[in-house]
């Protein structure tokens, strides 16, 4: 029996029925990780995993255990696990050891989950391809000459390659959904405020969310319900109790925004998404053509706001408090040299853009204007979900205009790399939840369907996604 291709649900049953132990399961996954050539892990937390597996087995034999007890997972290396390295895939934090657990890790540990290791990402979660990692690109398990997608590259690739049962990623402008789409797995970007970010290395604080990546919708739901809710250590987290609820495709109003099917989309991606929408219609859903006119500006808006916030957040890496320190004569030179050596190209580029856009004389033209446009985009979604005569329940659209790109294909063309995020950034700007789920393939390459819901309607997204899963398989 191959233990590494089971869903959380099936693994849980197997543990319950004593078909295998958490230790056997953990060893099977560790074995796969060690043999892997995908570069999806930056570090393996073997001693922690084996200890947790042993503890889990005791809990399981006592009969009193939870859904995630004994189930192995992988954690994006921007989320802190106490006592283990947390590098954010940056030379800046190459030797940084996390001094405390992120709240999501605390919650998973309370459930008795097993942490296998820390997964690769674009440096400081900045990138759409996974190629910006200071420790090498993550390869796509479906075609090793292609990228896994970013920034949660290792989190998606490791689930797809059965190197873990599930993983956590983070999503600032598409960083859970894009790699999930490229690797053919299911990933949820929760509503802003649904999951605590305490212990996540900050990138764009008005956009960042932690979320799960797994083999199917049900698993994503199990993880999400374990990690969501209020945390006093993150003031933006909301009192939110996830409640599973059944929604039917029959009579459901699905919005299809015309702006998501314009020039630039790969015709094969469009075909797959349109066919998924047709299947929903055949199952009784009402398809409503909608318009989100602000979407045209979303990418420019995002690439101002996110770098502005990043330039402020990353100012803390000063060579004094933690991380890489290049000794120099005086304080200013210590700052200059530590940052100059510690940060990679993309991180520097974004700090530069953010600093420029926030500098006196340009603030109104860039940052202030971007905030206005952000409100415009938010209002588009309010109209679509609440105010229009034909208010919709959910929005169906692609995750990315293209399937996984070749490694190196866009590394010299910054703007064309940014354009891969064109369908994902609006969701972060509006603080909405959205899922990416496999909808089909172009040759070997998976293509994801994106389902966007209104704030805190994860239960509607998950219920309908799970119905779509049956229709699409």
């Amino acid at each position: 029996m191959d233990l590494t291709n089971l869903t959380i649900e099936k693994t849980h049953e197997g543990l319950k029925n004593k078909e295998f132990s958490s230790k056997e399961l953990t060893l099977a996954y560790l074995n796969k990780i060690k043999k892997s050539d995908l570069n999806s892990f930056l570090s393996i937390t073997e001693d922690l995993a084996l200890q947790q597996a042993e503890d889990a087995d005791k809990k399981i034999s006592s009969g009193n255990f939870e859904k995630l007890t004994g189930i192995p997972c992988a954690i994006k290396d921007a989320i802190m696990v106490e006592g283990y390295k947390c590098t954010a895939a940056s030379k800046m934090l190459e030797n940084y050891v996390a001094p405390y657990d992120a709240t999501v890790i605390k919650r998973l540990k309370e459930q008795g989950t097993v942490i296998l290791g820390k997964t690769n990402l674009d440096e400081f979660a900045m990138g759409g391809s996974g190629e910006n990692s200071a420790f090498g690109v993550t390869k796509n398990p479906h075609d090793k000459t292609r990228v896994a997608g970013g920034s949660s590259s290792g989190s998606a690739a490791s689930v797809a390659a059965q190197e873990t049962c599930y993983s956590l990623g983070s999503d600032t402008g598409g960083s859970i959904r894009l790699p999930s789409s490229f690797c053919g797995v299911t990933g949820l970007k929760p509503t802003y405020g649904a999951v605590s970010r305490y212990g996540l290395i900050a990138f764009g604080s008005s956009l960042d969310q932690i979320g799960p990546i797994a083999r199917n919708v049900k698993d994503v739901e199990t993880i999400f319900s374990a990690i969501c809710g209020k945390d006093k250590m993150d003031a933006t987290s909301q009192n939110y109790n996830f409640e599973e609820k059944d929604f039917s495709l029959k009579g459901l109003k699905i919005g299809v925004p015309k702006e998501y099917f314009v020039k630039g989309i790969d015709p094969n991606v469009e075909k797959i998404i349109r066919s998924a929408i047709k299947k929903a219609e055949d199952a009784g859903a009402e398809i409503v053509g909608i318009s989100l006119p602000g979407v045209e500006y979303a990418l420019a808006c995002y690439y101002i706001i996110a770098p502005c916030e990043a330039s402020a957040n990353l100012a803390r890496f000063d060579g004094i408090r933690y991380g890489l320190s290049k000794s120099a004569e005086n304080l200013l030179d210590t700052y200059l040299k530590s940052k100059g050596h510690g940060f990679g190209q993309e991180v520097k580029r974004r700090i530069m853009i953010g600093t420029y856009a926030l500098s006196s004389g340009y603030y109104d033209a860039y940052y202030k204007k971007a905030q206005e446009v952000r409100e415009l985009i938010r209002q588009d979604f309010v109209k679509a979900f609440e105010l229009s005569a034909k208010a919709v329940d959910l929005i169906f659209c692609p995750v990315s205009p293209v399937p996984a790109i070749k490694i190196g294909e866009k590394t010299d063309d910054v703007l064309s790399m940014y354009l891969m995020d064109i369908y994902t950034v609006s969701v972060n700007l509006a603080g909405l939840p959205a899922i990416s789920m496999p909808a089909g393939k172009i040759g070997n390459l998976p293509v994801g369907l994106q389902i966007i819901g209104n704030h805190f309607q994860e239960n509607k997204i998950l219920s309908i996604a799970s119905k779509m899963e049956k229709l699409l398989n």
């Binding site: 408090r321 200059l336 940052k339 520097k348 580029r349 530069m352 420029y356 309010v382 105010l387």
Partner: protein
């Protein structure tokens, strides 16, 4: 196109040491990206929505509390240069 001097000035504000190659590369990249941002000039100003649909931000931060969650020593342990429970800093001038 932004000038080389602009790039050097911004890098100084950001406390980033850049190599000559990086300055050249960023001059090109930033110019392209800033040109793309011009798109926003076309965007209309948002109008206010019916009252209950406007963004409320005050709720996000009002309950921020000070806690006695003490990890002072662990935090200091991460500092590259420290002495007797304090983080050491280079002279400012």
């Amino acid at each position: 196109m932004i000038s080389k001097e602009d790039v050097i000035h911004i890098a100084k504000l950001a406390r980033l040491e850049l190599t000559d190659n990086e300055i050249k590369k960023f001059q090109k990249d930033m110019s392209e990206i800033l040109d793309y941002f011009n798109l926003l000039k076309k965007a209309p100003k948002p109008k206010a929505l019916p009252d209950n649909k406007n963004l409320k931000t005050e709720s996000l931060r009002k309950d921020e509390v000070v806690s006695n969650f003490d990890i002072r020593e662990k935090i200091i342990l991460s500092a590259p240069d420290k002495k007797e429970g304090y983080i050491k800093v280079k002279t400012v001038f």
